[in-house]
């Protein structure tokens, strides 16, 4: 009977499949519902967590949220180009240059330093510090816990006696690393053919041209 009605058969088949897949999709949408916004978490994990606000947002997480909503990824000077590259890889977009308008771009890591004899103990820097890295009490000298300082420099501005400065962290053996060789095109620039082609080269020992 149904074989004689190909149109009807096709219709029934299509509707049946639509119902079945619709049910599966509906079930999956409820069963595997994603809580929160995982992309914000992943972006936040790449940001340097200095909470410095140089991006124009009050902390790293708000900036992560803004990036997820389409803001530029190159507004984080503390993270540097490395962070921009990592974000570009994560979001699968071309990596832009770091936007230097957002603040000082410097590879040198800095931490806050309080010139202790000048400190009057006003606690303003303590309130400004987003990671509780400044130790002190009212009318007592304050000091920076170097291991906790993120170098966000938010404490510099509130100081009424300007006794806080950002000092570069000394390089130690522990964080020393080999430098990457200069890019090939830069190293080849300015070289003559005699520098490159072996048979043109003057040997060190004989001073004559190699055969």
């Amino acid at each position: 009977m149904i074989t004689q009605q190909p149109l009807l058969a096709a219709l029934i088949a299509m509707v049946g499949m639509a119902l079945v897949f619709g049910a599966i999709l509906g079930f999956a949408a409820i069963k595997f519902k994603v809580e929160g916004d995982p992309i914000v978490e992943r972006i936040d994990a790449l940001l340097p967590q200095t909470q410095c606000g140089q991006c124009g947002y009050p902390g790293c997480r708000p900036y992560a949220g803004a990036i997820a909503n389409g803001d530029a990824i190159n507004k984080c000077p503390p993270g540097g180009q490395t962070t921009v590259n990592a974000l570009a890889t994560l979001l699968d977009v071309p990596a832009p240059e770091l936007d230097s308008a957002e603040g000082d771009v410097s590879d040198i890591k800095k931490v806050a330093y309080i010139r202790e004899p000048e400190c009057i103990g006003c606690t303003k820097c303590i309130q400004a510090c987003p990671v509780d890295a400044i130790l002190g009490a009212a009318k007592q000298m304050h000091t920076v816990l170097v291991s906790e300082c993120t170098g966000c420099d938010l404490c510099v501005e509130p100081c009424p006696v300007d006794c806080i400065e950002m000092r570069p962290v000394d390089k130690t053996l522990a964080d020393w690393k080999w430098d990457i060789p200069a890019p090939l095109d830069k190293r080849l620039a300015g070289l003559k053919s005699t520098d490159i082609i072996a048979t043109d080269r003057v040997t060190a020992t004989t001073g004559n041209r190699a055969a």
């Binding site: 020393w176 990457i180 072996a198 060190a204």
Partner: protein, 764 residues
């Protein structure tokens, strides 16, 4: 013959080992000073246990391990610690680190030390402790603390001794195996005992060291015949020379065919690998109690006239060794610590020999020509063929160039042993290993930064949470205060409703009154407390006076000098003053409330019913005045009517009050005799008020008439007085006369005003 396996890749660079093998291990004359870096090993730096200026003996502990992965440092000879300061150390960075500087005294005097008589009777743990105390680290090049490596948690079934020494130029292990084979075998036995006598004990040697192989084979044979009962046989295995078969993982693969998985340790496969030099150090530490204070180091290269191996005290400056071997700086193209493949360039010859220094290579310009310029990668794939770790060097190179750290890790960059085989075969002369080292450093840096960032995030979140909590606490307190205030108001309201029925508007006022009363009550309680406090202070002051007087009495007996006596006297005086002050305060306090009370009572008493009534009358009059003005202003009939009735009522009240006052006035005169002045004043006030009232009700013309009358009276009186005064010839006649003149002038003025007032209507 044991089956051997092959490793992938590998290269065959010129060996250059013959130069330094012509002579036996030679001693080195004592240098002027020894420099002992606190971090000669992998892991945490050692912590000094001696101070600058201390005299130390050979073998004495100078610094103890600074952590689990760390090693002790001992004095290589007797002498004085002249400094503990920053000094350049042998490190690719060329940076400085904290070093101890020891100035030898030339006596080379040992501190008391003794070995273990029978190590087979000692527990492995005790022996490991001795090895740790002796500061032994791997002498192959990496400098990993041996006690850690020899104490794995996993069961060990294979012990491999590394005598491969695959790097060109280096012969330190070769000569050691040739000359001290028996010590090596003895050390192997001790290590085997510590590891619980593993089934397989293998010594791997490349076939380019036949003399070493023979020596070790012979030593192993005699050892196994000697102690066949204990332990398994030691197999010395020879295999074809190929660089870099001396790498730990590579040697394991050659000898056992097993590949150490990525990210795992040989111990995970039940294998422990040790360098031959380390076995000798272990032997000397256990047998004689000698810590690791010297090692065999190869000094070679064309820039040195003499090449050979030396028994060098740790801390010997490299310049001392080079000088000994006729080093020519002009000839030297590159000074390297380690081998030509994996070593690093030294920029400073003042750096010392450390535990991991197996070779000093002073290469001439011919041996180490300047690196030819790198060219583009041509994707030839030679590097992948040469890689002993089965990596893809050119892929790693691309990713390292573009800093794609994720892809680098995905391509197992950390399995690269940095052997340099890829760079050796590269036709484009690309310094590949440099890229890998830089990339590894970058990845480690990113990881530490990530850890720091996570830590900072935690702290930031905690900071935020803390602020929010403080804010919430404040808000809760505010809310609680608000609720309490509301409840109190409600209570007052309900009290008021059940009581005398004050209106809703008056509850606020009552609140204030109640609060004031409560405050007053609280204050009333305080004088008692104050009194108690003052009494207490009097007690203490009395005590103090007593103590001071006692002291003074003692002092007066002649035990003290005049100055002290004065001081004591001053003290007594001071104490007495304090006592007097306290007593005075007490008296004040007792009198004060009485004074306040009496005043209040007096004012209340003085406020007689008469005065109250007068006040009442004044208020009513005022009210009437305002009502009248309101009536004048009002336009609405109803309001005017209401105001009028109010005015009527007030009038009634006024007349009532005045009546009462009149009655009271009659009654008052008799009983209140003691206050005539007060009554007189009250009467005067009443008269003045009555007058003012009368004045207010009069028209201006009448007012002026009245004032004229009064002027006439006063002038009459003044004339009388003047007359009597003139008669008596009194002094104030002039005054009286001028007063009379003034009165007359005023009267004239008033009369003029009156005339004007009368004339005005006519003019209009």
């Amino acid at each position: 013959m044991r089956k051997i396996w092959d490793i992938p890749g590998g290269i065959h660079p010129p060996e250059n080992k013959k130069q330094s093998l012509s002579s036996a291990i030679a001693p080195v004359p004592m240098p002027d000073h020894l420099i002992l870096p606190l971090n000669q090993h992998a892991g945490a730096p050692a912590k000094p246990v001696v101070n600058v200026g201390d005299q130390v003996l050979k073998g004495q502990l100078l610094a103890e391990p600074g952590g689990f992965i760390s090693a002790a440092i001992h004095a290589p000879t007797s002498g004085t610690i002249s400094a503990i300061e920053d000094h350049p150390i042998p490190h690719p960075s060329g940076m400085s680190a904290v070093c101890m500087v020891l100035v030898p005294d030339g006596r080379d005097e040992w501190c008391p030390h003794h070995g273990v008589e029978d190590y087979t009777a000692a527990s492995p743990t005790a022996l490991l402790g001795l090895i740790r105390d002796a500061g032994i680290t791997g002498l192959g090049g990496a400098g990993f603390p041996s006690a850690v490596k020899l104490g794995p948690k996993q069961p060990i079934d294979t012990l491999i001794i590394n005598g491969t020494e695959c790097e060109p130029y280096i012969t330190a292990d070769d000569i050691l195996m040739q000359e001290r084979a028996d010590q090596i075998i003895a050390g192997v036995r001790i290590i085997a005992h510590i590891l619980g006598n593993p089934d397989n004990i293998l010594i791997g040697i490349e076939d380019n060291k036949p003399k070493a192989f023979e020596a070790l084979e012979a030593a192993a044979q005699s050892s196994s015949t000697e102690s066949s009962a204990t332990g398994s046989t030691i197999q010395v295995v020879e295999f074809p020379t190929k660089y870099p078969s001396g790498g730990e993982k590579q040697l394991i693969q050659i000898l056992t065919g097993k590949e150490v998985p990525s990210g795992k340790l040989p111990a995970d496969l039940g294998i422990v690998c040790q360098n031959v030099g380390t076995t000798v150090a272990v032997y000397r530490a256990i047998q004689f109690g000698e810590p690791l204070i010297s090692r065999v180091t190869t000094v070679t290269g064309e820039a040195c006239t003499g090449n050979g191996n030396f028994e060098v005290l740790l801390g010997t400056p490299i310049s001392h060794l080079l000088q000994l071997n006729g080093f020519d700086r002009e000839q030297c193209g590159r000074l390297v610590m380690g081998g030509p493949m994996m070593g690093f360039t030294l920029t400073d010859t003042s750096v010392p020999v450390i535990k991991a220094t197996n070779c000093i290579l002073a290469g001439s310009h011919r041996e180490f020509p300047p690196a030819p310029p790198a060219q583009a990668c041509i994707r030839c794939g030679l590097c992948a063929e040469a890689c002993p770790a089965n990596l893809l060097p050119q892929q790693l190179f691309w990713y390292a160039q573009s800093q794609n750290l994720e892809r680098l890790e995905a391509h197992n960059l950390f399995d690269c042993i940095e052997c340099g085989a890829c760079a050796y075969v590269c036709p484009s002369n690309i310094p590949l290993v440099q890229y890998y080292r830089a990339a590894k450093g970058e990845i480690r840096k990113v990881e530490t930064e990530k850890k720091k960032a996570d830590h900072a995030r935690l702290r930031f979140e905690f900071h935020k949470e803390r602020l929010e909590k403080a804010e919430a606490d404040k808000a809760a307190k505010r809310e609680a205060r608000r609720l309490a205030a509301e409840a109190a108001q409600a209570k007052v309201q309900s009290d008021g409703e059940s009581g005398a029925a004050p209106t809703a508007a008056s509850t606020g006022v009552e609140d204030i009154i109640q609060a004031a009363m409560a405050r007053a009550a609280a204050r009333q309680a305080s004088p008692e407390e104050q009194q108690a406090k003052i009494e207490r202070s009097i007690e203490t002051a009395k005590n103090r006076v007593k103590v001071a007087e006692d002291k003074l009495a003692d002092a007066a007996n002649g035990q003290f000098e005049a100055e002290q006596l004065d001081k004591l006297r001053a003290k007594v005086e001071d104490a007495r003053l304090k006592l007097a002050e306290a007593e005075r305060r007490l008296v004040e306090l007792i009198n004060a409330p009485a004074a306040v009370n009496s005043e209040a009572v007096a004012s209340k008493l003085q406020a007689s019913p008469r005065e109250l009534l007068q006040k009442n009358i004044a208020t009513i009059q005022q009210r009437m005045a305002t009502t009248e003005s309101k009536i004048a202003e009002a336009t609405d009939e109803a309001i005017i009517a209401a105001l009028r009735t109010g005015l009527e009522k007030q009038r009634e009240k006024l007349s009532q009050a005045q009546q009462e006052l009149a009655q009271l006035g009659d009654a008052d005169d008799q009983p209140v005799e003691d206050k005539p002045a007060l009554d007189a004043a009250a009467a005067a006030i009443a008269r003045a008020q009555a007058k003012a009232e009368a004045m207010a009700s009069l028209s201006p013309l009448e007012k002026l008439d009245a004032s004229l009358d009064s002027f006439d009276q006063r002038i009459a009186k003044a004339q009388e007085k003047l007359a009597s005064a003139e008669a008596a010839n009194a002094e104030h006649v002039d005054t009286l006369r001028s007063a009379l003149e003034k009165l007359q002038a005023k009267r004239a003025e008033t009369a003029r005003q009156r005339q004007q007032l009368i004339d005005q209507p006519r003019e209009q």
